[in-house]
Symmetry: C2
Subunit: 165 residues, 2 copies
């Protein structure tokens, strides 16, 4: 069971957008180039992020993607849900209502203990992802990066950003 | 991102085996009939459970599957890992080592903060599943079942079990 590769791309793209000055954006081509991923696939995930209200897309020559809200208001769960969806990992087919000893639907008002346990585990996973924001990630990246690396990224962002002045 | 359907089948099959008397087993056909699932697919998952040391398979006319260890020693994580594997959900392709501002591999001794956060969330999921055993599930099922349902299951198990006397 694996998350879409797009979750990694989207998380890194959103983290990079957190380094943008106000009113600046990054085009999908530039975001794809920075992460060395296919622009067409990344576009699909950027659209999902836009639909979820995580990023804003502006069209045109000066258009680009930027964050739609503060990095501290965007969690890794928000990004995961936008890109990979919110279907439960565990597929409960109400197996207890099948076979020779089947329960009636009316006897199944409470969740099956097996499904309930899997859902609880999934809630722990979501809660953990929801507790980490892009602001946290940006701080971690900054603290673990050399001055030279940070300068390189900021110079690249400045050279490649679109601006709506 | 979804777990294999086999995880549900395997968890229910293991829970049913917890109701077996000593030295009794259930054939894969009988387990498939009880849960109304395809015997050939269930067989694949039962083999995975056997390989993981969760169930024991005995061949022959009196053969069948039974638990290889106490229900309190089998967690939902054990079953999930056996059936669905232990690959991380989050696929880190070391995206930070790509593109125009790539880090060198030597600068990436610590996990990327994004990958680290996803791995922490995954650890919370595994820990939650590891904390629930088949003994817990059996108690929950018993406590939430009517006397009539439990009698029906026990009678069915008795009529369909194989015995090695």
């Amino acid at each position: 069971m694996q998350l879409s590769k797009g979750v990694e791309w989207a998380a890194h793209s959103v983290a990079l957008m957190a380094a943008l000055p106000q009113d600046a954006g990054l085009s999908r081509e530039v975001l794809a180039e920075y992460h060395e991923v296919p622009a067409a696939y990344l576009a699909k995930h950027l659209q999902a992020l836009s639909k979820a209200g995580i990023v804003t897309a502006t069209r045109g020559a000066q258009g680009g993607y930027r964050l739609a809200r503060a990095p501290s208001e965007i969690s890794l769960w928000d990004i995961t849900a936008a890109v990979d969806g919110v279907l439960p990992m565990f597929r409960c087919t109400e197996i207890r209502q099948k076979g020779p000893c089947a329960l009636l639907a009316s006897e199944c008002k409470l969740a099956c203990p097996i499904a309930a346990a899997f859902l609880a585990a999934e809630a722990a996973w979501r809660k953990s992802l929801a507790s980490i924001t892009i602001a946290d990630i940006a701080v971690s990246i900054t603290q673990s990066s050399s001055q030279a690396k940070l300068r390189r990224v900021m110079a690249w962002v400045q050279a490649n950003q679109t601006r709506r002045d």
